[in-house]
């Protein structure tokens, strides 16, 4: 009996996925939980473990195709016994025709099992009536929701099992129309219009279809630039002491902790301290107000050659240099291994960008919208600088911040930058890194 495998939901708010690569071919035997294919969603790639054991009978969705969550992507021929259908009791109606007294409906049998819907497991199960009642309600509620552009999950239902009834949605509409115009929903990902003028393609050109990660980056960067008025400022940081410190302890640190000591944990630590002192940089624009975040979840930009991904270090303010070094090492490894989950890349309140690792000395980063600001740490280079009216050779680093000028102004941005700068300049080769 062939059972469908569907596109799973690989994280909250993920609504679609792209089949990046099939790891099994039609006809292959597949064990339960054996990777079936690679799926790209917004920002992450994941392997889809097979929900069933059997033979991959048919691939329904080809590589590179994007489908909604819940779409059937393959059919699996499930070996062995046919499971009895869950929750389906055989018909019990007794017809008082001659010779049929209390006649049971023929048990088992191919004809019946062919007619019942597959039992499967969570991945291939048809949604329950209770779920559909809550999420889709009824034809009239769906129609009214569509006409008035309403997500019915926002409405409190008074019907069976919390179902949104016609009256519920009608009173919701009435209330909404009576209320003053609500602030617009914070802009989410915008789709490019389907119809657009194509770029001329000349002989020898190569056309590359967007991966879902590339598309997500494009959409988010455009949305950020469109939405947030960017402003930018930069300070120079003398990190000679920090460089000396790192040179002194890095080998011992790597040997002891098993993690390479880079400058990034120091920069993140300094940024976290800056955020604590200047919380307006750890905030979100919300139309007619600003939400200052209590939690400090710092996104760390990781270059993946063909993409940029920003895993999040949660509660970064609770970690010391060692903790940050370990955590950053872990998420970078996961990012490079394609093993990030959607939760690993969501929830950031501030972003630290590290283009200096690639040799950049100046950059103007785009804010990771809807965050308030992004910090860029550039390459550390030895430069002749004036110290006490003498020219000295110092290890210098440019430190920049791009910020949403709706939320804060240059003064606040620079006060933050100076806090970070002071912290980074306070290290000397003798500083204790971690206890």
């Amino acid at each position: 009996m062939a059972q469908p495998v569907t596109m799973p939901q690989l994280g909250e708010s993920v609504t679609e996925g792209t089949i990046a690569r099939w790891l099994k071919a039609e006809g292959d035997e597949v064990q339960r939980d054996e990777p079936l294919c690679e799926v790209d969603t917004d920002k992450v790639s994941a392997e889809l473990p097979s929900p069933l054991a059997g033979t991959l009978e048919k691939i329904l969705i080809s590589e590179g195709t994007t489908v909604d969550v819940g779409t059937e992507i393959a059919l699996m021929a499930v070996a062995g016994e046919e499971e009895s259908p869950n929750g389906e009791s055989p018909p019990t109606e007794e017809f008082p025709a001659a010779g049929t007294e209390a006649q049971p409906v023929a048990a088992g049998g191919a004809s019946r099992s062919a007619a019942v819907r597959d039992a499967g497991d969570g991945h291939s199960k048809v949604e329950s009536a209770a779920t559909l009642r809550r999420t889709r309600s009824s034809p009239v509620v769906r129609r009214l929701a569509a006409e008035h552009d309403i997500d019915i999950r926002q409405i409190t239902g008074t019907g069976i099992e919390g179902r949104v009834t016609r009256k519920d949605i009608e009173s919701y509409i009435a209330e909404r129309e009576a209320a003053p115009a609500a602030p617009p929903e914070p802009e989410t990902v915008e789709r490019e219009p389907m119809e657009r003028e194509r770029v001329a393609v000349h002989e020898g050109d190569r056309v590359v279809e967007l991966t879902s990660v590339r598309r997500a980056i494009a959409q988010r960067m455009s949305a950020s630039k469109r939405e947030a008025p960017h402003a930018w400022t930069m300070v120079e940081v003398d990190v000679t002491g920090l460089v000396g410190l790192r040179e002194r302890v890095k080998e011992e640190f790597a040997g002891r902790e098993g993690v390479k000591l880079t400058y990034l944990p120091f920069i993140v630590r300094a940024a976290v301290e800056g955020l604590k002192e200047h919380p307006v940089l750890n905030s979100v624009w919300d139309g007619d107000r600003i939400v200052l975040r209590k939690k400090v979840h710092v996104g760390v930009a990781v270059d993946l050659e063909d993409a940029l991904i920003v895993p999040v270090v949660r509660d970064a303010d609770e970690l010391n240099i060692l903790g940050l070094a370990r955590k950053i090492d872990e998420v970078v490894r996961k990012a490079r291994g394609g093993a990030l989950t959607p939760d690993d890349v969501s929830g950031g309140t501030f972003t630290v960008n590290n283009p200096g690792a690639l040799g950049s000395v100046v950059s103007t980063p785009i804010i990771n919208h809807p965050q308030a600001a992004i910090l860029s740490a550039e390459a550390i280079v030895k430069r002749p600088v004036v110290r006490d009216d003498a020219i000295a050779v110092r290890s210098m680093m440019n430190l920049e911040v791009s910020f949403d000028h709706r939320i804060l102004d240059g003064g606040a941005a620079l006060r933050f930058l100076n806090t970070v700068k002071k912290r980074l300049e306070s290290y000397s080769p003798e500083s204790r890194v971690v206890s």
Partner: protein, 328 residues
């Protein structure tokens, strides 16, 4: 205006049509000398004579067959089937002959007969005096099947049936015969055969019903309005075939919650046709699954009173179905 029972109303309608039109006649088992088992035709033979009020043998095929023959020769016969349960012998005459005569003769002969059919469960009726057989005839093009539930409507519709050029099956719920009374207009009036009737306005649920269950639905509607604040729109189809689709659909779209109640065996019932109509044509207005309440798929009706009471949709079952729909 004095209140009259369903039975009196039908009697009056028959008598008035016979007085008005000499071609109108009555035939059936015990309709003449005895005045009918329910006394619907009492006194008619005395007034109009044995040739216009004719006792027949116990042969339903003959009753309807003779009525067809008389009708195509200028008469307007009203045939009485003593109990709906006895109609199967006349099935061939009704379905194969009366229904198709006009079509088969390319419009040369129409069959203006009325077949009165007392139906429905009554205490003690048991297997041969209880059935609701209306669905058997509601997929036979050429027939009209009506089932008025109130005396005034029954009188007016009987007149329309007698005057109609087509064969009309006229279903009368026998439990309602003496139970349901209302004042009847004294003038000569008729009620169209093809119009459903909205008995009660309401915005919460819509219930369609006919026969005894209609009366119970109306009582339940008053009760749940008072006790639960649920307002039911109640519609009587009047004509079961063809259906007044517009009136039914308008009521269904008004509330989006739709229930059909009848005491017929549920599977393959007229309720199924009404439910299908609403499911298709009112889909975008629906706020709950289309529901039906009827008798189980066992023969109508058990003799033992508790079993009979279980068999028919009881007032309690009707009320709880209406509340379930309101709360959906």
């Amino acid at each position: 205006m004095p209140a009259k029972s369903l039975l009196q109303a039908i009697h009056e309608g028959l008598a008035e049509e016979m007085r008005a039109d000499e071609s109108v006649m009555v035939l059936g088992e015990d309709v003449g000398h005895a005045g009918g088992v329910f006394r619907v035709t009492q006194g008619l033979q005395d007034e109009f004579g044995p040739e216009r009020v004719m006792d027949t043998p116990l042969a339903e095929s003959l009753i309807v067959g003779a009525a067809i023959g008389l009708s195509v020769n200028g008469m307007r016969p009203v045939a009485e089937i003593q109990f709906a349960d006895f109609i199967p012998p006349a099935f061939d005459q009704i379905v194969n002959e009366a229904a198709r005569f006009y079509y088969r003769s390319n419009g040369a002969w129409n069959v203006p007969i009325t077949v009165r059919v007392p139906y429905g469960v009554v205490p003690g009726g048991a297997l041969y005096h209880s059935q609701s057989v209306e669905a058997w005839f509601c997929n036979t093009p050429g027939l009209k099947v009506v089932a008025p539930s109130f005396p005034a409507d029954a009188k007016g519709m009987l007149k329309s049936a007698v005057r109609d050029p087509n064969p009309v099956l006229f279903f009368e719920h026998k439990k309602a015969y003496r139970l349901i009374k209302e004042e009847i207009p004294e003038d000569d009036y008729s009620v169209p055969l093809d119009r459903a009737k909205v008995h009660r306005q309401g915005g919460d649920i819509t219930v369609v019903s006919y026969g005894m269950t209609l009366h119970q639905v109306l009582e339940a509607a008053a009760r749940i309005s008072e006790e639960h604040g649920v307002e039911a729109e109640v519609v009587e189809p009047m004509s079961l075939y063809p259906l007044d689709r517009e009136t039914i659909l308008e009521a269904a779209r008004k509330t989006g919650k739709f229930l059909v109640v009848s005491e017929a065996n549920l599977t393959g019932s007229v309720s199924g046709e009404i439910a299908a109509l609403v499911a298709r044509e009112a889909f975008e207005w629906l706020d709950a699954p289309v529901m039906r309440l009827g008798a189980p798929d066992t023969p109508a009706a058990p003799f033992a009173r508790p079993m009979m009471d279980f068999f028919v949709p009881s007032p309690e079952k009707i009320e709880s179905a209406m509340l379930e729909l309101a709360r959906y």
